[in-house]
């Protein structure tokens, strides 16, 4: 590598992408306790949306901007469909949601593979073609865009949870479902919309992923386990924990990849996260409860 800072910047961008995937999971897994293994395939759906909008809108800059909300809606709709058809019957069986959504993930991957055997070629927007000069390293603007996007998602999600009445209802449902119901919160609707938003975020992440690397059927698989680990390591339902964890994982993996090889870096990162979870099984930040263990 030409510079010391290159892995740091690339890693930050990769961490940002991981963060967008993890944010959605922080909602569905952290807040609702649903383990959606098909979340990674919603990233894939986002990438496909980016490709589709490029077929309709030929201006690459404009099409990416259109693709973001489109991907949010499409992935969100997929998530909603999943919630209504499968997950709503399994809220009391978290491990079974895991298995059922593994099935969904297999099917979605296969559908993608048959439709686009060699992946979707998303054209990079011309506006993001440039580079930013940082300590002599030409940092691609596409990576800057990913970071901005991740921060925007984070701010949007955080503000929604904290300041809107819907966000309050989500938090109320998570903390005490029965009491929330007594207070007139339609918890079933809250569940559905939470799932919609969480899955939609994956769609947005998919658009960003399509700009950075190639998009093939393994995109979801590549991110899902790491995203889950990030959510767990950050502390369940804790956005700040997810941010720190995603960023750390991104940067550490990038430096490790520089020193060793790409696949070895993945292994070491996995092992480091697992060791970290041995030390702090509840993650970086914990909500203290009186529950046992």
């Amino acid at each position: 590598m030409e510079s010391l800072i290159a892995p740091f910047l690339n890693g930050t961008a990769d961490g940002a992408l991981l963060l967008i995937a993890a944010l959605g999971l922080a909602l569905t897994f952290g807040q609702m306790g649903v383990i959606n293994m098909a979340h990674g395939e919603f990233l894939l759906a986002g990438a496909v949306c980016a490709y589709w909008t490029q077929q309709v809108v030929s201006n690459t800059d404009l099409s990416i901007l259109i693709a973001l909300p489109v991907a949010f809606l499409v992935a969100g709709a997929l998530g909603l469909l999943l919630e209504v058809t499968i997950i709503q019957w399994m809220y009391d069986r978290p491990l079974d949601t895991l298995l059922a959504t593994v099935g969904v993930s297999l099917a979605l991957q296969q559908i993608f593979l048959q439709k686009y055997p060699s992946g979707v070629p998303v054209e990079k927007p011309s506006l993001l073609d440039g580079q930013l000069d940082i300590f002599g390293y030409a940092w691609p603007l596409r990576q800057v865009f990913t970071i901005v996007l991740a921060l925007a998602c984070l701010a949007g999600l955080g503000a929604m949870l904290k300041y809107t009445s819907f966000g309050r209802r989500i938090r109320a449902t998570v903390q005490n479902r029965a009491l929330a119901e007594t207070l007139g919160v339609a918890t079933r609707n809250v569940d559905r919309i939470t799932f919609f938003v969480g899955s939609g975020l994956a769609g947005v992440g998919g658009v960003a992923a399509s700009l950075i690397g190639g998009t093939n059927s393994q995109l979801g698989t590549r991110y899902i386990i790491l995203a889950f680990l990030v959510v767990v390591a950050g502390g369940l339902g804790q956005l700040r924990g997810a941010v720190i964890a995603a960023w750390t994982v991104g940067v550490v993996t990038a430096y490790l990849a520089d020193w060793t090889t790409g696949s070895l870096a993945q292994v070491i990162t996995f092992v480091l996260v697992v060791i970290f979870l041995q030390v702090k099984p509840q993650g970086l930040f914990t909500v203290r409860t009186r529950g046992l263990a």
Binding site: F29, G30, Q31, M32, G33, I35, I86, W89, M90, D92, R93, P94, L95, D96, L98, L99, A100, V102, G103, V104, L106, A107, Q109, Q110, L113, Q114, V174, T221, I225, F228, L229, V232, L236, G237, T261, G262, S263, L264, Q266, V267, F270, V271, V273, V274, L277, Q278, P281, Q282, T289, G291, L292, A293
Partner: protein
């Protein structure tokens, strides 16, 4: 979400019966447990006598492959069905056994003091890596197949269970390990053969692997070991330990309050399951003739799990039958409809977890209940 899991619904395998505390004789209990032994006997008869008599060499070899997955599934049934630990990374232990065996067979096929062909391709002068050297010995290999998973699962399980990591966290952690190991093997191509894996084995402990008679005998070893694993599981299930394990699955805190350490109970089940996965992996190698990261990664680990889920994880025979059926389905359906097989597997996952969480093993009971519920009102009507 709190870290404590909701208790499993009744009907998901045997539930603790408080009246059994004194171990009094009960006729129905006697029939149930010894009935299983008769079942194992019949199963052994089919696998060891009927199947070899009826099937061609090719089909028998395929059946041997399914039996390897079935051995893994027995372990999964123990750890997941009875212990409540969703082991999504059994590929790790499968790999331990499989690569130990594959390294031995590779060295043996090359003859004494040989260096595997793929290593010579990368660097003709490279010495044999130190961790390959002991696998020249067949005895060491066999010991490694059993001891390696005990050590790895023991250390891992000790760390994980003592920290009270459970439920979904455990599942994701174990899956992450399988993914990491597959990456590791794929990335160290000069040491392990990488993504191409190890293949072209000629001898199995001195016997020619191209001889169909030898292949048939290897099948017999696999089928025999599957029966042994079933016997081990049967004995474990009816022992005090089996009851404690189910109790830990259903109410871990109560077990802790009674003075047992749930971590130790889970650890034993986890280690036994790991050893079974390793044995399955070791025997998979001479039968399939290849081992690569594809056979141990996330997708492969989930496939191993699917057999137990489909068959009925908490029952004795469920995981075995599920694994055999899925193995058969995988090779026949993926020949005839190719990509369609993935959809079949996907739908199976969805519908089994949605509608039949206790697997096909719960079907007879369900049908009985259904028939009884249909009959009861009509009898009352005619009386």
């Amino acid at each position: 979400m709190s870290a404590t899991e909701p208790e499993e619904t009744p009907g998901d395998g045997p539930v603790l019966d408080p009246t059994r505390a004194g171990r009094q004789f009960s006729a129905s209990e006697f029939g149930r447990s010894w009935g299983s032994l008769v079942g194992i006997g019949l199963f052994a008869l089919v696998l060891l006598v009927v199947a070899p008599a009826l099937l061609s060499d090719f089909r028998l070899n395929n059946l041997g492959k399914y039996c390897c997955w079935a051995i893994v599934a027995v372990g999964i049934g123990l750890a997941w069905g009875r212990g409540g630990m969703l082991v999504m990374g059994q590929g790790v232990f499968f790999a331990l056994g499989a690569y130990a065996m594959a390294m031995h067979l590779t060295l043996e096929s090359g003859g004494p003091d040989s260096i595997p062909v793929f290593m010579i391709l990368y660097d003709p002068l490279a010495p044999l890596p130190a961790f390959w050297e002991p696998f020249r010995s067949g005895a060491f290999t066999i010991i490694a197949v059993v001891v390696a998973p005990v050590v790895v699962a023991g250390v891992l399980g000790f760390a994980i269970f003592k920290r009270r990591v459970k439920g979904a966290y455990f599942a994701i952690l174990s899956q992450a390990l399988a993914v990491a190991l597959a990456y590791l093997i794929g990335g160290t191509i000069k040491l392990t053969g990488g993504d191409t894996g190890l293949s072209d084995f000629k001898f199995f402990f001195g016997y020619d692997l191209n001889d169909p008679a030898n292949k048939r005998f290897i099948y017999t070893i696999v089928a025999g070991l599957l029966v042994v694993c079933l016997l081990v599981a049967w004995q474990l299930y009816r022992s005090r330990f089996g009851e404690l394990l189910v109790a830990t699955r259903d109410a871990e805190e109560r077990v802790r309050f009674l003075g047992h350490d749930p971590a130790n109970i889970k650890l034993v089940a986890f280690v036994v399951a790991a050893v079974m996965a390793s044995i399955g992996g070791a025997l998979f190698v001479p039968i399939a003739g290849i081992i690569s990261p594809k056979e141990i990664g996330a997708a492969a680990s989930i496939f191993m799990l699917a057999g137990a889920a489909f068959g009925g994880r908490a029952s004795l025979f469920g995981p075995v039958l599920g694994a055999l059926l899925l193995g058969y389905g995988r090779s026949t359906l993926s020949e005839s409809i190719q990509d369609g097989w993935i959809y079949v597997l996907a739908l199976l996952f969805i519908f089994v977890t949605l509608l039949l969480p206790a697997g096909i093993a719960s079907l007879p009971g369900r049908i009985n209940n259904y028939v009884a519920s249909k009959r009861a009102p009509s009898q009352r009507g005619t009386a």
